[in-house]
Structures are given as structure tokens and as C-alpha cells.
């Protein structure tokens, strides 16, 4: 695969195409690619999932360990989200200390999950103020064909939903013993992240890598639903270009519909 940076003329072409609402793969501007989900892809993980969005593929695993609570949340378990942009996934990921994308990705997923209140961290205390469960969500892109963020968030949610708490024998965890207790997840809340990308003056969703390379801004929204009310839990804009207020309003109109659509796709794919 190519590590060649996108050329000026292709960028121009993509700009024109998006203005005319055309994409190379024939999709609409706000259409997501085919979603494939596989649960439990690693028996050694407490929970895991593989998510494919078109050719983008991400593996997410959840591991539980015992740790100390953070000083400012002594009555809660811990949640740590990390992502390793393996050089495996793209000729653009070099080995070594993480670049900005590597730092951003796990934080975007973290906030979408944490701020939604999906996990009741207060139920993860083992010994008050001393010992709590720490949830590690580890994200591994396997093939980057654009929009790793959204694919990773879906992967994290699915992995959490099929996570079983390991058996605690006294002070140690017996990982091998069969487990059945799920995580304390608040029923009905399942956040996803929906990232809008911008090329020129066009907004769109779920880019391929080629389209993503032509973008000059992105805004990732974490959105969830409690009973009948949808909530935006997080938001982060990246990139140098700006968003206009009418674009923000347009996004607010599209988000709820997309949230429903993607959740339908997730239900079908599971």
C-alpha cells in the first residue's frame, strides 16, 4: 500500500466531488459503509470485539485488573482507554512514540464512553477507598481505511457489553475460571461517536483513507440516549479549518437520525 501523501490535484478533485455530492464508492455524503461486528475475538480478554467499517478494521479488547482508586474518585472504579496505532495497519504509522492521532483516538473514545455514564463505576469498588476494578480498553487498528474513531468507539462499546468480570479469589484474580458477571452497565445507554469531516465547504461522514487525507477538519461527537432523550456527551474539533454556525446546526439535525441508523446497523450486525 502507498504511503504517498495526497496530491494537490486529487485534493481538488475530491473537493469538487463533494460539492457535487459525489463519492468514488457511490455513497451519499452522510452514508456509513458496511458495518461488520464480531464479538469475543480473544478468549484471554474479559471482553473483545472486531469491527469493520468498510475496509477499516479495529480490534478492541477489555481487560480487568485490580488497582487503587484515583484520589479524586475514591468511590469509583477506574477506566483507562488506550490505542496503539500498530505499524501493521498502515504504511503511515511508524513505530516509536505516539503521534497526535495516537493520542487523540483513545481520548475521543474515552470521553464518549465516560461522559455517557454507560458504566456505573461506583459499582466497581472492591474495598472502599483502597481497591477497585480497573477497566482497560485497548484499541488496535488493524487496517486503516479512514474513520478509525467511529469504528473504535463501536468496538469499545461491543467489547464492554460482552465483558465478564473475572473471578476474585481472595486477593488475586483467577482469569482462567469461567466468569458470568457482566460489567455494571446502565441499561439503555449505548454511546457512539459520529465524526463529521470537512473538505472545502462540504460536510460528510465516514471517509475512506483517501477522503480523510483530503480533509482539513473533523468534529467528533459522542452521543447517547437515556430513555427517549438523546444527549451529546462529548465533542472535539480537530484540524485547522473552521466550522460555521449553520454547519453546526446542520450537524445537530443529522446526528439524532444517524444515531438511530447506526444503532440499527449495530443491532443487525451483532
Amino acid at each position: 500500500m502507498s504511503s504517498m501523501t495526497i496530491s494537490n490535484l486529487t485534493k481538488e478533485m475530491l473537493k469538487k466531488m463533494f460539492s457535487s455530492k459525489k463519492r468514488f464508492d457511490g455513497r451519499d455524503l452522510f452514508e456509513y459503509r458496511e458495518l461488520k461486528i464480531e464479538k469475543d475475538i480473544s478468549k484471554k480478554a474479559e471482553g473483545s470485539a472486531r469491527v469493520c467499517l468498510g475496509k477499516t478494521e479495529v480490534l478492541v479488547g477489555v481487560k480487568l485488573a485490580i488497582g487503587e482508586p484515583y484520589p479524586d474518585s475514591l468511590d469509583k472504579g477506574n477506566l483507562t482507554v488506550s490505542a496503539d496505532l500498530l505499524p501493521l495497519a498502515s504504511p503511515r504509522f511508524e513505530q516509536g512514540p505516539p503521534g497526535f492521532n495516537a493520542i487523540e483516538l483513545p481520548r475521543l473514545v474515552d470521553r464518549a464512553i465516560r461522559e455517557s455514564g454507560m458504566i456505573d463505576l461506583s459499582k466497581l469498588v472492591i474495598k472502599e477507598k483502597e481497591k477497585v476494578w480497573t477497566i482497560f480498553i485497548d484499541i488496535y487498528p488493524i487496517n486503516d481505511d479512514g474513520n478509525l474513531v467511529d469504528a473504535s468507539t463501536i468496538g469499545a462499546i461491543i467489547a464492554l457489553q460482552n465483558t465478564k468480570i473475572p473471578v476474585l479469589e481472595g486477593e488475586t484474580i483467577n482469569y482462567e475460571k469461567k466468569r458470568s458477571e457482566p460489567l455494571p452497565l446502565v441499561e439503555g445507554i449505548a454511546p457512539i461517536s459520529i465524526s463529521f469531516y470537512k473538505i472545502g465547504n462540504s460536510l460528510f461522514l465516514d471517509p475512506t483513507r483517501e477522503e480523510e487525507e483530503a480533509c482539513n477538519a473533523r468534529i467528533t461527537w459522542g452521543i447517547s440516549q437515556i430513555k427517549d432523550q438523546k444527549f451529546i456527551n462529548s465533542c472535539q474539533k480537530s484540524g485547522e479549518a473552521t466550522f460555521l454556525s449553520e454547519e453546526i446546526e446542520e450537524m445537530m439535525k443529522i446526528l439524532p437520525k444517524k444515531f438511530e441508523e447506526i444503532n440499527e446497523k449495530i443491532k443487525k450486525a451483532k
Binding site: 479488547g61 482497560f136 487496517n143
Partner: protein, 245 residues
Amino acid sequence: MEKEKTRDSKEFIRSDGRKWNETRPMIAKVGVIPNADGSAMFAFGDTIAIAAVYGPRQLHPQHMQDPSSGILRCNYDLLSFSVYDRKKPGPSRRSQEISKVTEWALSPVIDLEQFPNTVIDVQIYIIQADAGTRTAGINAASMALAHAGIPMKDLVCSVAVGKLDKQIIVDLTKEEEDFEGGEGPTDFAIAKIANSDEFSLMQLDGKIPPERIKEVISVVKETCAKIYEVQKKALKEAVEKTENS
């Protein structure tokens, strides 16, 4: 696992029902990572490895370039959730050692002198670990290198042979690796050039009398021939898959 002593027997049946010289079910797929120049997945039972090859490509920094030959650079690691005790992201000494011996296992089949100043990057990751991870990794990497069109004189096949007391067994599970009875556990990871009497990886930990090494070599040859067939099939199927996509 029982601490009984076991006698050596060709009729020996293991706890998962396998014969002494049977590998776990092998699964191989080529082309699993579209972005890579070559890629493959290989599994021995519950041990699953994926490999991607990028190259030949530019080697940075420039001072590392070798004007007489290309460089084969292997990186092996476990995904954090591939093992029960979460592995913290980042290379460990074990993964660094395995990366190096993997490179030595694969380089004899590649004519690196055809690619001076370049690097062929091989990335191997273990998704699920149940012993034999480096052998699964080599089998996956071998297919990925071929898939990438790298000129190779042959494929490389790898399997681990061990002992349960005096009983020699092929392709150990973690449980078998940890066997403590009798002479204790032995784990001998071996890689062979598929169609040649050449061994490119040999790593042994345990206790085995020198007279029995010949048996080990013999069963490794038999087993590698089977692995080669699995690898060959996966590579050929990749072409069909592409055409019918």
C-alpha cells in the same frame, strides 16, 4: 495437569484428544490487511497470529541503510488482551528477543541483496496466546512475505515440540507447556525451510536427552510438510478471493 510420569508411546492421547504428533487445528488466511503489501493470519488452535509485510521500502534513518543489501526488520508483539494478565503496550524483552529470532528464521529464504538500501518490514501480532506464539507468527509472516511478492526461494514453517515427562508431543498448548511431571516440561521451537533440509530457528528450554533429538527432527520434518500445504492453500485461495471480490 497431572504430575504423573508418562511413558513414551506412539498411542499416547493428550488431554484434548490429540495424538502425540498431531498439531492443533490450523487455520491460515492471506490478505487480511488490505493496506499492507502482504499479510496473513495463522492459527494453531487457540493461538492466533497476524502478520503484515511492508516493503521493500525506504529505510529511515539513512545511516542505517546498507548499500550491499536490504534489511529484514521483524517486530513481534502480543496484543494487550491476548493473554490473561494484560500485557502493557510497548515492547518487552521477550518480544524483542522473539523479533530477532524471527528475523533470523525468515532471512535465509530471502535474497536481500536484490534490495540494497531498503527495508522489508514484517509486523507480527498475537491476538490470542495459547503457547506456540512465535511459531504461529513465523508461519503467518512467511505467507505474508510471499503474498508481498518478495522473491523467496521457499516458505518457512515452524512448530514447537515438547515433552510430557518422556512423551514427545507436537504443538503444545499452554497447559502442556506448564507440565511439571517426571522429567519436567520441555519446549523446543523449531523453524524449517519448507522444501530443504535446513533449520532456521531453534530454541529449546527444558530437559531432553541428546539421543532423542533425532526423533524431534523427524517429527518436525513431517509436521512442517503439513504446515507448508496449509500455507500453500491459503496463498492460492487469496488469488481466487481477489478475482471474485
